[in-house]
Amino acid sequence: MGILDSKVPSGPLADKWTKHKNEINLVNPANKRNIDIIVVGTGLAGGAAAATLAELGYNVKTFCYQDSPRRAHSIAAQGGINAAKNYQGDGDSPYRLFYDTVKGGDYRSREANVYRLAEESVNIIDQCVAQGVPFAREYGGMLDNRSFGGVLVSRTFYAKGQTGQQLLLGAYSAMNRQINRGKIQAFNRHEMLDIVLVDGKARGIIARDMVTGEIERHGAHAVVLATGGYGNVFYLSTNAMGSNVTAAWRAHRRGAFFANPCFTQIHPTCIPVSGDHQSKLTLMSESLRNDGRIWVPRRLEDAKAIREGKLKPTQLKEEDRDYYLERRYPAFGNLVPRDVASRAAKERCDAGFGVNKTGEAVYLDFSAAIQRYGKEKALTSGLKDPDGETITRLGEEVVEAKYGNLFQMYEKIVDENPYKTPMMIYPAVHYTMGGLWVDYNLQTTIPGCYCAGEANFSDHGANRLGASALMQGLADGYFVLPYTIGDYLSKDIRTGKIATDTEAFDKAEADVRGRLQQLLNARGDKSVDYFHKKLGKIMWDKCGMSRNAEGLKEAIEEIAALRKEFYANVRIPGGMDEMNTELEKAFRVADFLELGELFAKDGLHRKESCGGHFREEYQTEDGEALRDDKNFKYVASWEYKGEPKDAVLHKEDLVFENIELKTRSYK
């Protein structure tokens, strides 16, 4: 397939990874001590990779823009992590997890990678428990599970609503152990601004110390990028304020192909926008769909009355409510995959049934669950004939034990009590399936530059299932990358230290300085946020939950024009050689302004609907996504050629040998 070689090992699916591990070259322990690796990003993927690489004996330098590795955005993951442990005995297996993930991704991911992920999922839980991660347990002392969207088994492990936090703190503690041993040097509050290539290989990075403003050179035998997703190209998303595409984009500009940029996940259950001041959006975990029922009023006049504050949702009778997911998708009901749930919410709101002031919200209602749990609890606590009040109280207690922190979060933001009145939710940008193209070894198209976690494109196709990003981050970091990278490094044992006083580093540093100076020199009259918000609006309106050719073409033009205006008119107070938060933002937004255009170009070229990519021109009669396997069963991988509009497309054909391509149905 042209210049894209996925390097998927031959042989039966279930044997590929074991066989590959047995066949790849190893670096002996004495030589590992002479090899340096840079890991940019200390989230689950980067933190886990850094810890294992250091444990194996390599010298590791980590970089993150926060003040501590513990604060990477993985910390915010709420709901859980999947693993095919089959502890519930409900028929789960690595094959089933593999199948669900490929189907959930709408058949746009690479079979071999996904199978490996499902295989390794089992080890993750063992590993984390050994590290002291306090997962939720049942009374018998065994690990507890819950269900997530798009699957029919219960395989999600969790730690209340703070699963990401607990897993990240596990990886952070593993890193700390290696820092204490002197095997990891952590550069916090350091931002990578470019990757350095020597003779075509990744040999280091240029980073900026965000406290002093100093520009630094760091050399290494290989560079791992684990810098997270680029959802903030939409300005508003559930990502952290600092989440950015810069590391990946800079690598793209130096030769790493960018795959499927338009595959973005819009999460159905987020707290709706409250006003123009909004700086970010807050997710309400998908786990809530285990117990919450989603609805809007059945009649337009009721929706209108609710919007005007004349009617309360609790006053609406059961038959006047439209539980539209249960109606349209009886088999999966409220637990359909995210892309399906999000589009269905948009469809109802566009049709005029939205329930908040702006008409962009639907209800997530726990009253039925509260009653059900209340009755159950009353029975098991031996209460005969409990009154309604008691049942409600008991039910609320059960719901609180399950989701207490989410309910508290909601109440603080919205100022309404979700135990008493249904939550209001609306879809928001959440996750990016696209990212740097990597082969089976997680190597990008730049030799020696690897990419792990959300930053790569590899495992989730056109839509990610809930609780599988944490799984991917940790599988990549703990169990895949530390071994596959050895194959590459085995050829580097005689290279010696990578010097940074060379022409390649001189040039890369001068480039970075030039770009920073260019931004400072604009001395215009608009803040960085002004441009970021404008970009976000174009993206949301024209590249969001549904897209069409006309809108995408407009987006391409508008983003290019905005980029031009940005360089001419941005205003950044302060200088380069000091802490300068506006300069940091400007550098990130500059890269979003390029990525956004490639995003729209990718969306325009993909003339089908699949997963999170819904093209209005390609849908079935009842509004479901219409995939085109004949023409688009490939990874769209873009090569940088100057302006984003000049990017060149390379296709990696996706071969399905173990799964039959079907129309996804959750009915």
């Binding site: 501590s68 590290q131 306090p134 347990r137 204490n180 409250s274 933001i413 107070p573």
Partner: protein, 248 residues
């Protein structure tokens, strides 16, 4: 809402800081405290002035990055939340709000409201981990059953976000609540017992080296902690420390 903000401005670690008054209007109750500061910063940038620097990232109360002392209280007047979760509906029209960085010798100011909390990382590096290899050759997770109440207590201790509010709240700038939360998490789990002695000794030693003060049991830390980390953890760490000192 119209407000008067009195904000600590300090160019860098070595310069002297001072309070500067910023009147602000058009603030809505639905805004978060940090969104209110965004509005101020937008105005400052429009005037060509340098924005107020403050730490923040997730803006949903979990990363532990945000860290303001608001009217003398870490994370402001509300309870069990971080600064980024504080909403302006907690204030009234005409209020004066004093905004400072977290104050502690071990948390030097970097710029304006941003402080250096790397001392916390070093305490964790001294022993806040279980020495297990991460290469995947571990036993099946369910071969270590753990009593639910123990697991829940360990989780509650592990919920600490490392924000430093406990230190800022304490008149001695003690880091006992933070350190004891990690010590407790591992002390409560069978996996963590193996290294318990060494862990508590190393972490407490590092805590003292960093220049945090002593604990005099005033309990201000527990009141201000956004994650409800309980004083019981300090009692547990004291027990662990005593036992370890006897042994070690």
């Amino acid at each position: 809402m119209k407000l008067l903000l009195k904000i600590w401005r300090q160019q860098n670690a070595s310069s002297k800081g001072k309070f500067v008054d910023y009147p602000i209007s058009g603030i809505e109750g639905d805004m978060s405290f940090l969104e209110m500061l965004d509005v101020l910063n937008q105005q400052l940038i429009d005037k060509g002035e340098e924005p107020v620097v403050f730490d923040h990232d997730c803006r949903e109360g979990i990363c532990g990055t945000c860290s303001l002392q608001i009217n003398g209280e870490p994370h402001g007047p509300d309870r069990l939340i971080t600064t980024c979760q504080l909403h302006m509906r907690m204030f009234k029209d005409g209020d004066t709000i004093v905004i400072e960085p977290f104050r502690a010798k071990a948390f030097p100011v970097i710029k304006d409201l941003m402080v250096d909390r790397s001392a916390f990382d070093r305490i964790q590096q001294a022993g806040g981990y279980i020495s297990v290899n991460t290469s995947g050759n571990t036993v099946d997770a369910n071969t270590i059953p753990i009593e639910k109440t123990k697991a829940d207590d360990a989780f509650n201790a592990a919920a600490c976000i490392g924000c430093g509010a406990c230190v800022a709240a304490c008149k001695n700038a003690s880091a006992m609540l933070f350190t004891s939360a990690k010590v407790s998490q591992f002390a409560l789990l069978p996996q963590g017992r193996v290294e318990a002695t060494q862990r508590v000794l190393s972490m407490v030693r590092q805590m003292d080296l960093e220049g945090f003060g002593n604990c005099t049991n005033t309990g201000a830390c527990e009141v201000e902690c956004p994650k409800g980390i309980s004083l019981e953890n300090i009692a547990r760490m004291n027990r662990e420390y005593l036992m370890a000192s006897v042994k070690g």
